[in-house]
C-alpha cells in the first residue's frame, strides 16, 4: 500500500532571468515501510522534488505549477503553512546532505532533538529529555546525559549525521527523506549511517525516500528506484526491474559505467555520461535526453515520449518502447549480483 503518491508534479522557480522548470512532471509512489531511491545527475531536480513534498522551498521563488501529492490518500498540495507544520517533523522528516552545516551551531544538540519532541508529542519536559536520551542511544551515541549538552562543532560529520537522524526520528515519522545523507562522509562512516537508516526503517516500519548519487547505495538499500533526468522520472520500478531489466537509455548509461571492480559498497559517484543536461529555462520540446542519447530518432526530437507501463511497477518513458521503433541492443550493462 502506498503511503505517499506523487502525481505529475511540476515545480518552477520564478527568477528574474525567467522560469526555471526544475521539476517537469514527476510521478512516483512510496510504499509503507519501504525504501524508494531517487537517482540522477546533479541538478535534475531530486532535492527540489522532496523539498516540495515537505514545502521547504520558499514560495516565491518556487511554485507548484501542477500535480498532486497524496499522503495517506489526502492531497496535501493545497495545505496551508500551519497544516504543513503539523506534518513536518511528525509525519515526514528530512536529513540533509551536509551534516556540518545542517545543525544549529549555537544550540546544544540535545536541545535540538528535544525541540522536535516537544513540538509534536504531548510530553512533559522531563519525559521529553528522557526521550531525547533514548533517541541518542538509538542512533548509537553513548552517554547521552553528557553528550546531549555538547555543541555540534564538537562532533564529527558522522556523529552529526546520527544526531540529525535522532532528530528526524524523534517524533516517529512515517516517512524519512534522506537527501544524499552520506555524500559528505568518508566511506566507512557512510556505510555505518546507511546501516543505521536501514535498521531504523525496519524497526519502526518507516518509509524512506533516499536520494543518492551512488548506485551501490541504491542496490543495498532500495526496494524501488526512480531514475530522474532533467526534472522528469524517466524510469521507475522495483530495484530488481531497474537493475536487471532496465529499459531507458539513460538508465543503461548509468548502470553501464559502474567500474568493473565494483563492489557494491564502494563510494562511487554517478558516472559521467558524455554531454550535459538541457537548459531548464527552456527545456526541449522532445525527449530531454535526445542530445546525449545514442539511439535518438526523429520522433524523439519532435515529441516527448509517453510513459509505458511494463508491469504494475515498472514504467519507462522512451520512444524505443513504441512498437514502431527499431529494436536496439542495450549497450553493455555489467550487472552484479546484489542482495
Amino acid at each position: 500500500m502506498s503511503i505517499l503518491e506523487v502525481k505529475d508534479l511540476r515545480v518552477s522557480f520564478h527568477t528574474y532571468a525567467g522560469k526555471v522548470q526544475a521539476v517537469r512532471g514527476v510521478s512516483f509512489s512510496v510504499d509503507k515501510g519501504k525504501t524508494l531511491a531517487i537517482v540522477g545527475e546533479s541538478g535534475c531536480g531530486k532535492s527540489v522534488t522532496v523539498q516540495t513534498i515537505m514545502k521547504l522551498t520558499p514560495t516565491p521563488p518556487a511554485f507548484i505549477e501542477e500535480g498532486s501529492i497524496l499522503y495517506e490518500g489526502t492531497d496535501i498540495v493545497g495545505y496551508s503553512e500551519k497544516q504543513m507544520q503539523k506534518l513536518r517533523g511528525k509525519e515526514f522528516s528530512m536529513i540533509f546532505q551536509d551534516p556540518m552545516t545542517s545543525l544549529n551551531p549555537t544550540m546544544r544538540v540535545g536541545r535540538q532533538i528535544n525541540e522536535n519532541i516537544l513540538k509534536h508529542m504531548t510530553l512533559s519536559s522531563k519525559e521529553a529529555t528522557k526521550r531525547t536520551m533514548e533517541m541518542m542511544r538509538l542512533v548509537g551515541i553513548a552517554n547521552p546525559e553528557i553528550n546531549m549538552l555538547r555543541y555540534p562543532h564538537t562532533y564529527s560529520g558522522g556523529m552529526r549525521q546520527r544526531i540529525m537522524i535522532a532528530m528526524g526520528m524523534a517524533a516517529n515519522p512515517k516517512i524519512l527523506f534522506a537527501d544524499e545523507p552520506t555524500t559528505a562522509l568518508d566511506v566507512t562512516t557512510q556505510s555505518q549511517i546507511l546501516d543505521l537508516i536501514n535498521d531504523l526503517k525496519k524497526q519502526f516500519q518507516m518509509a524512506v525516500v533516499l536520494i543518492t548519487h551512488n548506485l551501490g547505495v541504491v542496490a543495498r538499500m532500495a526496494d524501488s528506484v526512480a531514475v530522474m533526468y532533467a526534472g522528469k522520472v524517466v524510469e521507475t520500478g522495483t530495484a530488481r526491474e531497474v537493475f536487471y531489466e532496465p529499459k531507458h537509455p539513460y538508465t543503461w548509461g548509468l548502470l553501464n559505467s559502474i567500474p568493473d571492480t565494483a563492489n557494491m559498497n564502494g563510494n562511487r559517484e554517478l558516472p559521467a555520461i558524455p554531454g550535459t543536461p538541457p537548459d531548464l529555462f527552456a527545456p526541449p520540446k522532445g525527449c530531454a535526453f535526445a542530445a546525449r542519447c545514442p539511439y535518438a530518432m526523429k520522433a524523439c526530437i519532435k515529441a516527448q515520449p509517453e510513459e509505458t507501463c511494463l508491469s504494475d511497477t515498472h514504467k519507462v518513458s522512451c520512444h524505443l518502447l513504441d512498437p514502431r521503433a527499431p529494436k536496439v541492443e542495450p549497450y553493455h550493462v555489467k550487472r552484479q549480483k546484489t542482495e
Partner: protein, 306 residues
Amino acid sequence: MKRYIAKRLVISVITIWALATFSFFLLKTLPGNPFQTEQLLKPEIQEKMMSYYGLDKPYFEQYLTYMGNLLHGDMGYSFKYTNRSVWDIIMQTFPISADLGLRSLAIGYPVGLLLGTIAARRRGKKADYLCVLISVLGVSVPNFVIGSLLQWVFGVKTGLLPIAQWKGFSYSILPTITLSIATIASLTRTMRASMLEVENQDYMKTAKAKGLGEKEIVWRHQLRNAMIPIVTGLGPAVATTLMGSFIVEQLFSIPGIGKHFTESVQALDYTMVLGLTIFFGVFLVAANFIVDILYGIIDPRIRITD
C-alpha cells in the same frame, strides 16, 4: 582560561606601550610648540617655557621621563589648562561623555537590532525599504546636520527642549538622539545583512523541516546566530562611543572628553594628547577583551576552553 587571561594581559600591556611610544614621537614631529598659539608670547618667553617644562631636552630623554612618570600613574599636567593635571581633566570630562555615550547606545542598539530584524523579515516590502532608507540616511547625513536640525525643531521653533549644556535629563535628550542615529543606522544595516545571511543557512531549513513555526525559527535559531557579527563589533563601538564625539559635544556645548581631545591636538597640548590617547587605548583594549569573552557565550565554537 587563566592562561588565556594572562596571555591577553601581556599582549595588552605591550599594545599600550607601543601606542604610547608611537604617539609620543609622532607628536614631536608636529611643527610648533604648546606656547606658540595662545597669547602670542615673545619667542624668548616661549623658549623659557620650553626649558621650564623640559621640552628642550633630547626627545629620548623626554620620552624616558614621560614613561617613568606614566609607570607611577602620573600623566603630567596640561599645558593649556595650567595647574590642572591630565588625570583630573579626564576624570572630570570622561564621565559626562560616557554618560551620553551609554544613553545613546542604550537607544541605538535595541532600535538598530529591531529595525534590522524587521527589515530582514519583511524583505522587499515597504517596511524593509523604510528601514533601509533610515539606515542610508543615518550613515550619510553628518552628525552636525542632524543635531542642528533637532536643535532648530525642538529648541528654536518649539522651545520644547534645551539645546545646549549638560545640566539634567532634558539636556541630554537631543544629544543622545543625535549620537544614537549613527548607531541605529549602522546596526540596522549589519543586522539586516546578518539575518538574511543566516536565513540561507542549512540549519534554518532543518528547523523548518522539524515543523517549527516562523516565530520559533526566528527566536530560537535565527536571532542568536545573526547576533554574532554584532557582538564582534561591540568592543570598538562601545569604546569609541563612550569616548565622546567632538562634533556632538561641540554642537551642544557639552563639557565632555571628546571636545578636549580635538582641542588638545590643536593646541599641541602634548601631555593632554598623550594622556587621552593612552586612556582611550586602555579603554579599547579592555572593551575588546570583555567582548571576546562575551563572544564565546553567544558562539560556542569560539568559546575559550584553554
